[in-house]
Assembly symmetry: C2
Homo-oligomer: 331 residues x 2
Protein backbone atom coordinates (compact mmCIF):
# COMPACT_ATOMS: atom_id res chain seq x y z
CA UNK A 1 0.00 0.00 0.00
CA UNK A 2 1.49 3.29 -1.10
CA UNK A 3 1.41 6.44 1.03
CA UNK A 4 -1.98 8.12 1.01
CA UNK A 5 -2.30 11.62 -0.48
CA UNK A 6 -5.70 12.02 1.15
CA UNK A 7 -7.20 10.97 4.45
CA UNK A 8 -10.74 10.66 3.13
CA UNK A 9 -12.45 10.92 -0.24
CA UNK A 10 -16.20 11.46 0.10
CA UNK A 11 -18.72 10.49 -2.55
CA UNK A 12 -22.17 12.01 -2.26
CA UNK A 13 -24.90 14.24 -3.56
CA UNK A 14 -23.65 17.80 -4.24
CA UNK A 15 -26.39 19.99 -2.84
CA UNK A 16 -27.00 23.63 -1.96
CA UNK A 17 -29.18 23.99 1.14
CA UNK A 18 -31.92 26.61 1.36
CA UNK A 19 -32.67 27.13 5.05
CA UNK A 20 -35.65 28.92 6.50
CA UNK A 21 -37.13 29.18 10.00
CA UNK A 22 -40.76 28.08 10.15
CA UNK A 23 -43.41 27.39 12.76
CA UNK A 24 -44.64 23.80 13.04
CA UNK A 25 -47.92 24.79 11.37
CA UNK A 26 -46.14 25.19 8.05
CA UNK A 27 -45.08 21.53 8.11
CA UNK A 28 -48.65 20.50 8.77
CA UNK A 29 -50.08 22.76 6.07
CA UNK A 30 -47.60 21.40 3.52
CA UNK A 31 -47.98 17.79 4.64
CA UNK A 32 -44.28 17.46 5.49
CA UNK A 33 -42.93 14.63 7.65
CA UNK A 34 -41.02 16.31 10.47
CA UNK A 35 -37.35 15.37 10.76
CA UNK A 36 -37.27 13.39 7.54
CA UNK A 37 -35.48 13.89 4.24
CA UNK A 38 -38.02 13.52 1.44
CA UNK A 39 -37.18 13.44 -2.26
CA UNK A 40 -39.25 15.81 -4.41
CA UNK A 41 -39.42 16.51 -8.13
CA UNK A 42 -38.80 19.90 -9.72
CA UNK A 43 -42.46 20.97 -9.68
CA UNK A 44 -42.96 20.06 -6.01
CA UNK A 45 -39.69 21.77 -5.08
CA UNK A 46 -40.90 24.92 -6.82
CA UNK A 47 -44.25 24.82 -5.02
CA UNK A 48 -42.62 24.25 -1.63
CA UNK A 49 -40.13 27.05 -2.24
CA UNK A 50 -43.07 29.33 -2.99
CA UNK A 51 -44.57 28.46 0.40
CA UNK A 52 -41.28 28.95 2.23
CA UNK A 53 -40.25 32.19 3.90
CA UNK A 54 -37.07 34.11 3.03
CA UNK A 55 -34.13 31.71 2.93
CA UNK A 56 -30.40 31.51 3.37
CA UNK A 57 -28.35 29.54 0.85
CA UNK A 58 -25.35 27.51 2.02
CA UNK A 59 -23.51 24.62 0.45
CA UNK A 60 -24.64 21.32 1.92
CA UNK A 61 -24.89 17.64 1.12
CA UNK A 62 -24.17 14.97 3.70
CA UNK A 63 -20.81 13.57 2.57
CA UNK A 64 -19.64 16.99 1.39
CA UNK A 65 -20.39 18.44 4.83
CA UNK A 66 -18.33 15.61 6.33
CA UNK A 67 -15.35 16.27 4.08
CA UNK A 68 -15.56 20.04 4.71
CA UNK A 69 -15.53 19.24 8.43
CA UNK A 70 -12.54 16.93 8.02
CA UNK A 71 -10.64 19.73 6.27
CA UNK A 72 -11.60 22.16 9.03
CA UNK A 73 -10.02 19.76 11.55
CA UNK A 74 -6.81 19.72 9.52
CA UNK A 75 -7.41 16.52 7.54
CA UNK A 76 -6.80 16.09 3.82
CA UNK A 77 -10.12 15.59 2.04
CA UNK A 78 -11.44 15.18 -1.49
CA UNK A 79 -15.00 15.02 -2.80
CA UNK A 80 -16.72 13.40 -5.78
CA UNK A 81 -20.24 14.53 -6.76
CA UNK A 82 -22.07 16.24 -9.62
CA UNK A 83 -23.27 19.82 -9.83
CA UNK A 84 -24.59 21.53 -12.98
CA UNK A 85 -22.76 24.35 -14.76
CA UNK A 86 -24.96 27.01 -13.14
CA UNK A 87 -24.81 29.63 -10.38
CA UNK A 88 -25.64 27.23 -7.55
CA UNK A 89 -23.10 24.75 -8.92
CA UNK A 90 -20.43 27.44 -8.90
CA UNK A 91 -21.37 28.33 -5.32
CA UNK A 92 -21.05 24.67 -4.29
CA UNK A 93 -17.66 24.31 -6.01
CA UNK A 94 -16.35 27.55 -4.54
CA UNK A 95 -17.42 26.75 -1.00
CA UNK A 96 -16.02 23.24 -0.80
CA UNK A 97 -12.73 24.29 -2.37
CA UNK A 98 -12.57 27.33 -0.10
CA UNK A 99 -12.98 24.91 2.81
CA UNK A 100 -9.75 23.25 1.67
CA UNK A 101 -11.26 20.23 -0.08
CA UNK A 102 -10.11 18.91 -3.45
CA UNK A 103 -13.15 18.81 -5.79
CA UNK A 104 -12.74 18.21 -9.52
CA UNK A 105 -15.79 16.24 -10.70
CA UNK A 106 -16.79 17.84 -14.03
CA UNK A 107 -20.25 19.48 -14.12
CA UNK A 108 -23.13 17.33 -15.35
CA UNK A 109 -24.34 18.09 -18.86
CA UNK A 110 -27.85 16.59 -18.79
CA UNK A 111 -29.59 19.91 -18.28
CA UNK A 112 -30.94 19.46 -14.76
CA UNK A 113 -29.85 22.28 -12.42
CA UNK A 114 -27.71 21.83 -9.33
CA UNK A 115 -29.51 19.97 -6.55
CA UNK A 116 -31.04 21.87 -3.69
CA UNK A 117 -32.43 20.88 -0.34
CA UNK A 118 -35.21 23.00 1.15
CA UNK A 119 -34.68 22.83 4.91
CA UNK A 120 -37.51 23.92 7.19
CA UNK A 121 -36.03 24.63 10.62
CA UNK A 122 -38.66 24.56 13.40
CA UNK A 123 -38.32 26.32 16.78
CA UNK A 124 -37.19 23.02 18.39
CA UNK A 125 -34.07 23.17 16.11
CA UNK A 126 -35.22 20.14 14.12
CA UNK A 127 -34.90 20.22 10.37
CA UNK A 128 -37.30 18.82 7.79
CA UNK A 129 -35.64 18.40 4.41
CA UNK A 130 -37.13 18.34 0.93
CA UNK A 131 -34.50 17.46 -1.66
CA UNK A 132 -34.64 18.01 -5.40
CA UNK A 133 -31.74 15.89 -6.71
CA UNK A 134 -31.30 17.78 -10.03
CA UNK A 135 -27.85 17.18 -11.50
CA UNK A 136 -27.02 14.57 -8.82
CA UNK A 137 -28.92 11.96 -10.78
CA UNK A 138 -26.11 11.99 -13.34
CA UNK A 139 -23.45 10.67 -10.98
CA UNK A 140 -22.18 7.35 -12.34
CA UNK A 141 -19.13 5.08 -12.30
CA UNK A 142 -17.43 7.24 -14.96
CA UNK A 143 -17.14 9.99 -12.31
CA UNK A 144 -15.04 7.82 -9.99
CA UNK A 145 -11.41 8.88 -10.25
CA UNK A 146 -9.62 5.58 -9.57
CA UNK A 147 -6.30 7.23 -8.72
CA UNK A 148 -8.01 9.51 -6.24
CA UNK A 149 -9.86 6.70 -4.51
CA UNK A 150 -6.74 4.55 -4.35
CA UNK A 151 -4.84 7.47 -2.84
CA UNK A 152 -7.25 8.01 0.10
CA UNK A 153 -7.03 6.11 3.39
CA UNK A 154 -10.82 5.96 3.57
CA UNK A 155 -13.53 6.17 0.91
CA UNK A 156 -16.67 7.57 2.57
CA UNK A 157 -20.11 7.17 1.02
CA UNK A 158 -23.50 8.52 2.05
CA UNK A 159 -26.54 6.22 1.96
CA UNK A 160 -28.43 8.90 0.05
CA UNK A 161 -26.40 7.76 -2.97
CA UNK A 162 -28.85 4.87 -3.26
CA UNK A 163 -31.55 7.35 -4.37
CA UNK A 164 -30.16 8.61 -7.71
CA UNK A 165 -30.22 5.77 -10.26
CA UNK A 166 -26.59 5.14 -11.20
CA UNK A 167 -24.73 6.33 -8.11
CA UNK A 168 -24.77 2.88 -6.54
CA UNK A 169 -22.69 1.63 -9.47
CA UNK A 170 -20.29 4.45 -8.69
CA UNK A 171 -20.29 3.41 -5.05
CA UNK A 172 -19.49 -0.24 -5.80
CA UNK A 173 -16.76 0.72 -8.23
CA UNK A 174 -15.20 3.02 -5.64
CA UNK A 175 -15.43 0.38 -2.91
CA UNK A 176 -13.70 -2.19 -5.14
CA UNK A 177 -10.91 0.23 -6.01
CA UNK A 178 -10.44 1.20 -2.37
CA UNK A 179 -10.21 -2.38 -1.15
CA UNK A 180 -7.95 -3.31 -4.07
CA UNK A 181 -5.56 -0.59 -2.90
CA UNK A 182 -5.66 -1.80 0.71
CA UNK A 183 -7.86 1.11 1.85
CA UNK A 184 -10.99 1.25 4.00
CA UNK A 185 -14.62 1.90 3.02
CA UNK A 186 -17.04 3.83 5.24
CA UNK A 187 -20.79 4.26 4.87
CA UNK A 188 -23.30 6.55 6.56
CA UNK A 189 -26.88 5.29 6.57
CA UNK A 190 -28.05 8.91 6.08
CA UNK A 191 -31.62 8.70 7.45
CA UNK A 192 -34.18 6.10 8.56
CA UNK A 193 -36.44 6.67 5.56
CA UNK A 194 -33.45 6.17 3.25
CA UNK A 195 -32.81 2.89 5.09
CA UNK A 196 -36.46 1.89 4.58
CA UNK A 197 -36.11 2.53 0.87
CA UNK A 198 -32.97 0.40 0.50
CA UNK A 199 -32.88 -1.96 3.50
CA UNK A 200 -31.94 -5.22 1.80
CA UNK A 201 -29.16 -3.64 -0.23
CA UNK A 202 -27.83 -1.77 2.82
CA UNK A 203 -27.65 -5.01 4.82
CA UNK A 204 -25.64 -6.67 2.05
CA UNK A 205 -23.40 -3.63 1.79
CA UNK A 206 -22.65 -3.45 5.50
CA UNK A 207 -21.76 -7.14 5.59
CA UNK A 208 -19.81 -7.36 2.33
CA UNK A 209 -18.31 -3.95 1.52
CA UNK A 210 -18.20 -1.66 4.54
CA UNK A 211 -15.38 -1.42 7.08
CA UNK A 212 -16.73 1.55 9.06
CA UNK A 213 -20.45 2.12 9.53
CA UNK A 214 -21.99 5.40 10.70
CA UNK A 215 -25.61 5.40 11.84
CA UNK A 216 -27.83 7.06 14.39
CA UNK A 217 -30.22 5.18 16.60
CA UNK A 218 -33.26 5.49 14.30
CA UNK A 219 -31.27 4.46 11.24
CA UNK A 220 -29.75 1.44 12.92
CA UNK A 221 -33.13 0.29 14.27
CA UNK A 222 -34.56 0.69 10.76
CA UNK A 223 -31.69 -1.32 9.27
CA UNK A 224 -32.24 -4.33 11.54
CA UNK A 225 -35.97 -3.75 12.05
CA UNK A 226 -35.67 -3.77 15.83
CA UNK A 227 -37.30 -1.61 18.49
CA UNK A 228 -34.47 -0.40 20.70
CA UNK A 229 -30.88 0.69 20.55
CA UNK A 230 -29.38 -2.25 22.37
CA UNK A 231 -31.06 -4.73 20.05
CA UNK A 232 -29.70 -2.77 17.09
CA UNK A 233 -26.24 -2.71 18.65
CA UNK A 234 -26.24 -6.47 19.14
CA UNK A 235 -27.46 -7.01 15.57
CA UNK A 236 -24.53 -4.95 14.29
CA UNK A 237 -21.92 -7.06 16.06
CA UNK A 238 -19.83 -9.01 13.56
CA UNK A 239 -21.23 -7.22 10.53
CA UNK A 240 -18.34 -4.81 9.99
CA UNK A 241 -15.05 -3.95 11.70
CA UNK A 242 -16.10 -0.58 13.12
CA UNK A 243 -19.55 0.88 13.85
CA UNK A 244 -19.88 4.44 15.15
CA UNK A 245 -23.43 4.87 16.41
CA UNK A 246 -24.74 8.29 17.39
CA UNK A 247 -27.50 8.98 19.93
CA UNK A 248 -27.96 12.78 19.95
CA UNK A 249 -27.56 14.20 23.48
CA UNK A 250 -26.77 10.71 24.80
CA UNK A 251 -23.49 10.70 22.91
CA UNK A 252 -22.29 7.79 20.83
CA UNK A 253 -21.38 4.14 21.06
CA UNK A 254 -18.40 2.84 19.11
CA UNK A 255 -18.01 -0.86 18.39
CA UNK A 256 -14.54 -1.71 17.10
CA UNK A 257 -13.37 -5.26 16.53
CA UNK A 258 -15.98 -6.52 18.97
CA UNK A 259 -15.22 -4.09 21.83
CA UNK A 260 -17.79 -1.47 22.76
CA UNK A 261 -16.88 2.10 23.84
CA UNK A 262 -19.35 4.65 25.22
CA UNK A 263 -18.64 8.31 24.43
CA UNK A 264 -20.46 11.30 25.96
CA UNK A 265 -21.79 14.14 23.86
CA UNK A 266 -19.79 17.37 23.99
CA UNK A 267 -21.57 20.28 25.73
CA UNK A 268 -23.45 22.82 23.59
CA UNK A 269 -24.50 26.23 24.93
CA UNK A 270 -27.66 26.36 22.81
CA UNK A 271 -28.83 23.96 20.12
CA UNK A 272 -29.85 26.16 17.19
CA UNK A 273 -30.11 23.76 14.23
CA UNK A 274 -29.25 20.07 14.28
CA UNK A 275 -28.60 20.02 10.52
CA UNK A 276 -25.22 18.38 9.94
CA UNK A 277 -24.74 16.85 13.39
CA UNK A 278 -24.24 13.33 12.02
CA UNK A 279 -22.14 14.58 9.11
CA UNK A 280 -19.77 16.39 11.45
CA UNK A 281 -19.59 13.50 13.89
CA UNK A 282 -18.37 11.38 10.97
CA UNK A 283 -15.87 14.10 10.05
CA UNK A 284 -14.37 14.08 13.52
CA UNK A 285 -14.39 10.30 13.80
CA UNK A 286 -12.63 9.86 10.45
CA UNK A 287 -10.12 12.58 11.30
CA UNK A 288 -9.18 10.57 14.37
CA UNK A 289 -9.32 7.22 12.58
CA UNK A 290 -7.01 8.29 9.76
CA UNK A 291 -4.58 9.68 12.34
CA UNK A 292 -4.45 6.30 14.04
CA UNK A 293 -6.44 7.25 17.16
CA UNK A 294 -8.27 4.61 19.18
CA UNK A 295 -12.05 4.18 18.93
CA UNK A 296 -12.86 6.20 22.07
CA UNK A 297 -10.83 9.20 20.95
CA UNK A 298 -12.29 9.01 17.43
CA UNK A 299 -15.73 9.29 19.05
CA UNK A 300 -14.62 12.22 21.22
CA UNK A 301 -13.44 14.17 18.19
CA UNK A 302 -16.72 13.34 16.47
CA UNK A 303 -18.68 14.73 19.43
CA UNK A 304 -16.66 17.95 19.48
CA UNK A 305 -17.20 18.54 15.76
CA UNK A 306 -20.94 17.81 16.01
CA UNK A 307 -21.31 20.18 18.96
CA UNK A 308 -19.91 23.09 16.95
CA UNK A 309 -22.25 22.63 14.00
CA UNK A 310 -25.48 22.37 16.00
CA UNK A 311 -24.71 25.65 17.76
CA UNK A 312 -25.49 27.67 14.61
CA UNK A 313 -27.60 27.62 11.45
CA UNK A 314 -26.07 25.53 8.67
CA UNK A 315 -24.35 22.19 8.34
CA UNK A 316 -20.72 23.20 7.89
CA UNK A 317 -18.43 24.55 10.60
CA UNK A 318 -18.28 28.31 11.13
CA UNK A 319 -15.09 28.22 13.17
CA UNK A 320 -11.91 26.23 12.39
CA UNK A 321 -12.57 22.93 14.13
CA UNK A 322 -8.92 22.20 14.76
CA UNK A 323 -8.99 25.03 17.30
CA UNK A 324 -11.62 23.14 19.32
CA UNK A 325 -9.54 20.01 19.78
CA UNK A 326 -7.62 19.36 22.98
CA UNK A 327 -3.91 19.43 22.23
CA UNK A 328 -3.49 15.67 22.53
CA UNK A 329 -5.99 15.05 19.74
CA UNK A 330 -4.57 17.43 17.12
CA UNK A 331 -2.08 16.29 14.51
Amino acid sequence: MSDASFDVVGIGNAIVDVLSHVEDGVLVAQGLEKGAMTLVDAARAEALYGAMGPGVEVSGGSASNTIAGLASLGGRGAFIGTVADDQLGRIFRHDIRAAGVSFDTPPATGGAPTARCLIFVTPDAQRTMQTYLGACIELGPEDIDADLVAAAKVTYLEGYLWDPPRAKEAFLKAAAIAHGAGRKVALSLSDPFCVDRHRAEFRDLVRDHVDILFANEAELCALWEVENFDAALQATRGQCAVAALTRSEKGSVVMADGDVHVVDAAPVARVVDTTGAGDLYAAGFLFGYTAGRGPFNCGRIGSLAAAEVIGHIGARPETPLRALLPAELTR
Copy 2:
Protein backbone atom coordinates in the same frame (compact mmCIF):
# COMPACT_ATOMS: atom_id res chain seq x y z
CA MET B 1 -54.53 62.80 -2.60
CA SER B 2 -56.11 59.36 -2.83
CA ASP B 3 -55.69 56.69 -0.17
CA ALA B 4 -52.31 55.01 -0.30
CA SER B 5 -52.15 51.28 -1.09
CA PHE B 6 -48.54 51.17 0.10
CA ASP B 7 -46.64 52.83 2.89
CA VAL B 8 -43.30 52.82 1.08
CA VAL B 9 -42.06 51.86 -2.37
CA GLY B 10 -38.30 51.36 -2.44
CA ILE B 11 -36.16 51.74 -5.54
CA GLY B 12 -32.69 50.28 -5.43
CA ASN B 13 -30.13 47.79 -6.61
CA ALA B 14 -31.42 44.19 -6.40
CA ILE B 15 -28.49 42.28 -4.97
CA VAL B 16 -27.72 38.89 -3.48
CA ASP B 17 -25.14 39.12 -0.69
CA VAL B 18 -22.35 36.57 -0.31
CA LEU B 19 -21.11 36.79 3.28
CA SER B 20 -17.94 35.29 4.65
CA HIS B 21 -16.01 35.71 7.90
CA VAL B 22 -12.41 36.78 7.34
CA GLU B 23 -9.45 37.93 9.38
CA ASP B 24 -8.24 41.49 8.79
CA GLY B 25 -5.20 40.15 6.93
CA VAL B 26 -7.41 39.11 4.02
CA LEU B 27 -8.50 42.73 3.49
CA VAL B 28 -4.87 43.83 3.47
CA ALA B 29 -3.80 41.05 1.10
CA GLN B 30 -6.61 41.90 -1.33
CA GLY B 31 -6.15 45.66 -1.02
CA LEU B 32 -9.70 46.20 0.24
CA GLU B 33 -10.78 49.41 1.95
CA LYS B 34 -12.28 48.37 5.27
CA GLY B 35 -15.88 49.39 5.86
CA ALA B 36 -16.43 50.69 2.34
CA MET B 37 -18.62 49.55 -0.53
CA THR B 38 -16.49 49.32 -3.65
CA LEU B 39 -17.81 48.66 -7.14
CA VAL B 40 -16.01 45.90 -9.04
CA ASP B 41 -16.33 44.46 -12.53
CA ALA B 42 -17.13 40.83 -13.31
CA ALA B 43 -13.48 39.74 -13.54
CA ARG B 44 -12.51 41.35 -10.24
CA ALA B 45 -15.60 39.92 -8.56
CA GLU B 46 -14.58 36.46 -9.78
CA ALA B 47 -11.02 36.88 -8.50
CA LEU B 48 -12.19 38.15 -5.10
CA TYR B 49 -14.70 35.31 -4.81
CA GLY B 50 -11.85 32.89 -5.47
CA ALA B 51 -9.94 34.37 -2.56
CA MET B 52 -12.95 34.32 -0.24
CA GLY B 53 -13.71 31.51 2.18
CA PRO B 54 -16.93 29.49 2.14
CA GLY B 55 -19.90 31.85 1.97
CA VAL B 56 -23.53 32.20 2.84
CA GLU B 57 -25.92 33.64 0.26
CA VAL B 58 -28.76 35.90 1.38
CA SER B 59 -30.83 38.45 -0.48
CA GLY B 60 -29.57 41.96 0.14
CA GLY B 61 -29.48 45.41 -1.42
CA SER B 62 -29.87 48.53 0.67
CA ALA B 63 -33.38 49.72 -0.24
CA SER B 64 -34.66 46.16 -0.56
CA ASN B 65 -33.42 45.42 2.98
CA THR B 66 -35.29 48.50 4.14
CA ILE B 67 -38.55 47.45 2.50
CA ALA B 68 -38.21 43.88 3.83
CA GLY B 69 -37.75 45.40 7.29
CA LEU B 70 -40.79 47.62 6.83
CA ALA B 71 -42.89 44.56 5.94
CA SER B 72 -41.52 42.71 8.97
CA LEU B 73 -42.77 45.58 11.15
CA GLY B 74 -46.22 45.27 9.61
CA GLY B 75 -45.95 48.00 6.96
CA ARG B 76 -47.04 47.68 3.34
CA GLY B 77 -44.00 47.77 1.07
CA ALA B 78 -43.18 47.46 -2.61
CA PHE B 79 -39.84 47.32 -4.39
CA ILE B 80 -38.55 48.27 -7.83
CA GLY B 81 -35.18 46.94 -9.04
CA THR B 82 -33.72 44.67 -11.71
CA VAL B 83 -32.52 41.11 -11.38
CA ALA B 84 -31.62 38.78 -14.26
CA ASP B 85 -33.61 35.68 -15.18
CA ASP B 86 -31.18 33.37 -13.37
CA GLN B 87 -30.93 31.36 -10.14
CA LEU B 88 -29.75 34.27 -8.01
CA GLY B 89 -32.50 36.44 -9.49
CA ARG B 90 -35.11 33.86 -8.55
CA ILE B 91 -33.68 33.70 -5.04
CA PHE B 92 -33.91 37.49 -4.73
CA ARG B 93 -37.49 37.55 -6.02
CA HIS B 94 -38.55 34.67 -3.77
CA ASP B 95 -37.03 36.15 -0.65
CA ILE B 96 -38.44 39.66 -0.97
CA ARG B 97 -41.90 38.36 -1.83
CA ALA B 98 -41.73 35.82 1.00
CA ALA B 99 -40.96 38.77 3.29
CA GLY B 100 -44.33 40.21 2.29
CA VAL B 101 -43.11 42.81 -0.22
CA SER B 102 -44.71 43.45 -3.60
CA PHE B 103 -42.02 43.03 -6.30
CA ASP B 104 -42.93 42.89 -9.99
CA THR B 105 -40.11 44.55 -11.92
CA PRO B 106 -39.52 42.30 -14.97
CA PRO B 107 -36.09 40.63 -15.21
CA ALA B 108 -33.44 42.45 -17.21
CA THR B 109 -32.69 40.98 -20.63
CA GLY B 110 -29.23 42.42 -21.33
CA GLY B 111 -27.39 39.25 -20.41
CA ALA B 112 -25.60 40.37 -17.25
CA PRO B 113 -26.30 38.08 -14.27
CA THR B 114 -28.03 39.16 -11.08
CA ALA B 115 -25.90 41.52 -9.00
CA ARG B 116 -23.97 40.21 -6.04
CA CYS B 117 -22.15 41.83 -3.17
CA LEU B 118 -19.18 40.02 -1.68
CA ILE B 119 -19.20 40.95 2.01
CA PHE B 120 -16.08 40.31 4.07
CA VAL B 121 -17.08 40.31 7.75
CA THR B 122 -14.10 40.91 10.07
CA PRO B 123 -13.95 39.87 13.75
CA ASP B 124 -14.92 43.42 14.82
CA ALA B 125 -18.30 42.86 13.04
CA GLN B 126 -17.48 45.41 10.35
CA ARG B 127 -18.31 44.59 6.76
CA THR B 128 -16.28 45.41 3.67
CA MET B 129 -18.38 45.17 0.52
CA GLN B 130 -17.37 44.51 -3.08
CA THR B 131 -20.32 44.89 -5.42
CA TYR B 132 -20.67 43.61 -8.95
CA LEU B 133 -23.75 45.44 -10.27
CA GLY B 134 -24.62 42.96 -13.03
CA ALA B 135 -28.25 43.30 -14.12
CA CYS B 136 -28.73 46.40 -11.93
CA ILE B 137 -27.15 48.54 -14.62
CA GLU B 138 -30.28 48.04 -16.71
CA LEU B 139 -32.63 49.84 -14.31
CA GLY B 140 -34.11 52.83 -16.14
CA PRO B 141 -37.15 55.11 -16.13
CA GLU B 142 -39.15 52.49 -18.06
CA ASP B 143 -39.04 50.33 -14.90
CA ILE B 144 -40.85 52.95 -12.80
CA ASP B 145 -44.47 51.92 -12.36
CA ALA B 146 -46.20 55.31 -12.11
CA ASP B 147 -49.35 53.91 -10.49
CA LEU B 148 -47.28 52.12 -7.87
CA VAL B 149 -45.25 55.21 -6.99
CA ALA B 150 -48.37 57.39 -6.84
CA ALA B 151 -50.01 54.85 -4.54
CA ALA B 152 -47.22 54.87 -1.92
CA LYS B 153 -47.02 57.38 0.93
CA VAL B 154 -43.23 57.51 0.57
CA THR B 155 -40.89 56.72 -2.33
CA TYR B 156 -37.55 55.66 -0.87
CA LEU B 157 -34.36 55.69 -2.91
CA GLU B 158 -30.85 54.54 -2.10
CA GLY B 159 -27.88 56.72 -3.05
CA TYR B 160 -26.21 53.71 -4.63
CA LEU B 161 -28.64 54.24 -7.51
CA TRP B 162 -26.29 56.98 -8.69
CA ASP B 163 -23.74 54.31 -9.64
CA PRO B 164 -25.54 52.43 -12.46
CA PRO B 165 -25.86 54.71 -15.50
CA ARG B 166 -29.61 55.15 -16.03
CA ALA B 167 -31.01 54.63 -12.56
CA LYS B 168 -30.80 58.32 -11.73
CA GLU B 169 -33.27 59.00 -14.54
CA ALA B 170 -35.52 56.42 -12.90
CA PHE B 171 -35.04 58.16 -9.57
CA LEU B 172 -35.96 61.60 -10.92
CA LYS B 173 -38.99 60.22 -12.73
CA ALA B 174 -40.16 58.51 -9.55
CA ALA B 175 -39.60 61.64 -7.46
CA ALA B 176 -41.63 63.74 -9.89
CA ILE B 177 -44.51 61.23 -9.88
CA ALA B 178 -44.49 61.01 -6.10
CA HIS B 179 -44.58 64.76 -5.59
CA GLY B 180 -47.22 65.12 -8.28
CA ALA B 181 -49.39 62.74 -6.29
CA GLY B 182 -48.81 64.62 -3.05
CA ARG B 183 -46.46 61.97 -1.67
CA LYS B 184 -43.05 62.22 0.02
CA VAL B 185 -39.59 61.33 -1.28
CA ALA B 186 -36.88 59.85 0.93
CA LEU B 187 -33.19 59.28 0.16
CA SER B 188 -30.45 57.36 1.92
CA LEU B 189 -26.92 58.55 1.21
CA SER B 190 -25.77 54.89 1.30
CA ASP B 191 -22.07 55.31 2.10
CA PRO B 192 -19.41 58.04 2.32
CA PHE B 193 -17.58 56.85 -0.79
CA CYS B 194 -20.84 56.93 -2.72
CA VAL B 195 -21.28 60.50 -1.50
CA ASP B 196 -17.75 61.33 -2.67
CA ARG B 197 -18.57 59.98 -6.12
CA HIS B 198 -21.75 62.05 -6.48
CA ARG B 199 -21.46 64.95 -4.01
CA ALA B 200 -22.67 67.82 -6.18
CA GLU B 201 -25.67 65.90 -7.46
CA PHE B 202 -26.56 64.71 -3.97
CA ARG B 203 -26.51 68.27 -2.64
CA ASP B 204 -28.90 69.36 -5.39
CA LEU B 205 -31.12 66.38 -4.73
CA VAL B 206 -31.37 66.96 -1.01
CA ARG B 207 -32.28 70.60 -1.53
CA ASP B 208 -34.65 70.20 -4.48
CA HIS B 209 -36.21 66.71 -4.39
CA VAL B 210 -35.88 65.07 -0.99
CA ASP B 211 -38.32 65.38 1.91
CA ILE B 212 -36.70 62.83 4.24
CA LEU B 213 -32.93 62.32 4.30
CA PHE B 214 -31.21 59.31 5.90
CA ALA B 215 -27.47 59.49 6.51
CA ASN B 216 -24.92 58.32 9.01
CA GLU B 217 -22.28 60.57 10.46
CA ALA B 218 -19.57 59.78 7.89
CA GLU B 219 -21.96 60.20 4.98
CA LEU B 220 -23.28 63.53 6.22
CA CYS B 221 -19.77 64.86 6.85
CA ALA B 222 -18.82 63.76 3.33
CA LEU B 223 -21.88 65.47 1.87
CA TRP B 224 -21.07 68.87 3.40
CA GLU B 225 -17.30 68.34 3.52
CA VAL B 226 -17.10 69.13 7.21
CA GLU B 227 -15.10 67.53 10.01
CA ASN B 228 -17.58 66.79 12.76
CA PHE B 229 -21.15 65.74 13.34
CA ASP B 230 -22.43 69.02 14.71
CA ALA B 231 -21.12 70.96 11.75
CA ALA B 232 -22.83 68.47 9.44
CA LEU B 233 -26.05 68.77 11.42
CA GLN B 234 -26.02 72.57 11.15
CA ALA B 235 -25.30 72.36 7.42
CA THR B 236 -28.35 70.12 6.98
CA ARG B 237 -30.73 72.58 8.63
CA GLY B 238 -33.15 74.04 6.12
CA GLN B 239 -32.14 71.65 3.32
CA CYS B 240 -35.07 69.21 3.67
CA ALA B 241 -38.08 68.77 5.94
CA VAL B 242 -36.80 65.74 7.84
CA ALA B 243 -33.26 64.41 8.37
CA ALA B 244 -32.72 61.16 10.31
CA LEU B 245 -29.04 60.95 11.13
CA THR B 246 -27.55 57.76 12.58
CA ARG B 247 -24.48 57.55 14.82
CA SER B 248 -23.98 53.82 15.53
CA GLU B 249 -23.87 53.13 19.28
CA LYS B 250 -24.51 56.84 19.99
CA GLY B 251 -28.03 56.49 18.59
CA SER B 252 -29.53 58.97 16.16
CA VAL B 253 -30.46 62.61 15.78
CA VAL B 254 -33.68 63.53 14.01
CA MET B 255 -34.20 67.01 12.64
CA ALA B 256 -37.82 67.65 11.70
CA ASP B 257 -39.11 71.04 10.60
CA GLY B 258 -36.23 72.70 12.36
CA ASP B 259 -36.54 70.91 15.71
CA VAL B 260 -33.86 68.48 16.80
CA HIS B 261 -34.55 65.22 18.68
CA VAL B 262 -31.90 62.97 20.18
CA VAL B 263 -32.66 59.23 20.24
CA ASP B 264 -30.62 56.58 22.08
CA ALA B 265 -29.54 53.36 20.42
CA ALA B 266 -31.46 50.24 21.46
CA PRO B 267 -29.42 47.72 23.49
CA VAL B 268 -27.81 44.78 21.66
CA ALA B 269 -26.55 41.69 23.50
CA ARG B 270 -23.71 41.09 21.03
CA VAL B 271 -22.94 42.90 17.79
CA VAL B 272 -22.30 40.15 15.23
CA ASP B 273 -22.47 41.90 11.86
CA THR B 274 -23.35 45.54 11.29
CA THR B 275 -24.51 44.87 7.72
CA GLY B 276 -27.95 46.41 7.27
CA ALA B 277 -27.97 48.59 10.39
CA GLY B 278 -28.70 51.78 8.43
CA ASP B 279 -31.16 50.01 6.15
CA LEU B 280 -33.18 48.73 9.08
CA TYR B 281 -33.07 52.05 10.91
CA ALA B 282 -34.68 53.57 7.81
CA ALA B 283 -37.25 50.74 7.80
CA GLY B 284 -38.28 51.48 11.36
CA PHE B 285 -38.27 55.22 10.89
CA LEU B 286 -40.46 55.03 7.79
CA PHE B 287 -42.81 52.56 9.47
CA GLY B 288 -43.36 55.14 12.19
CA TYR B 289 -43.50 58.07 9.78
CA THR B 290 -46.15 56.49 7.55
CA ALA B 291 -48.19 55.67 10.66
CA GLY B 292 -48.16 59.34 11.66
CA ARG B 293 -45.73 58.99 14.60
CA GLY B 294 -43.70 61.97 15.78
CA PRO B 295 -39.99 62.27 14.97
CA PHE B 296 -38.72 60.91 18.31
CA ASN B 297 -40.85 57.77 18.08
CA CYS B 298 -39.88 57.24 14.44
CA GLY B 299 -36.25 57.24 15.60
CA ARG B 300 -37.03 54.82 18.45
CA ILE B 301 -38.57 52.32 16.05
CA GLY B 302 -35.56 52.74 13.77
CA SER B 303 -33.21 51.97 16.65
CA LEU B 304 -35.16 48.84 17.61
CA ALA B 305 -35.11 47.51 14.04
CA ALA B 306 -31.39 48.22 13.64
CA ALA B 307 -30.60 46.48 16.93
CA GLU B 308 -32.21 43.25 15.73
CA VAL B 309 -30.29 43.10 12.46
CA ILE B 310 -26.82 43.70 13.93
CA GLY B 311 -27.32 40.82 16.38
CA HIS B 312 -26.93 38.22 13.61
CA ILE B 313 -25.28 37.62 10.26
CA GLY B 314 -27.19 39.14 7.35
CA ALA B 315 -28.99 42.38 6.59
CA ARG B 316 -32.61 41.34 6.85
CA PRO B 317 -34.52 40.58 10.06
CA GLU B 318 -34.55 36.99 11.33
CA THR B 319 -37.44 37.54 13.72
CA PRO B 320 -40.71 39.39 12.98
CA LEU B 321 -39.86 42.97 13.93
CA ARG B 322 -43.42 43.84 14.91
CA ALA B 323 -42.96 41.56 17.94
CA LEU B 324 -40.10 43.78 19.15
CA LEU B 325 -42.15 46.97 19.25
CA PRO B 326 -43.62 48.27 22.50
CA ALA B 327 -47.41 48.09 22.28
CA GLU B 328 -47.84 51.85 21.88
CA LEU B 329 -45.73 51.86 18.70
CA THR B 330 -47.46 49.02 16.82
CA ARG B 331 -50.28 49.61 14.40
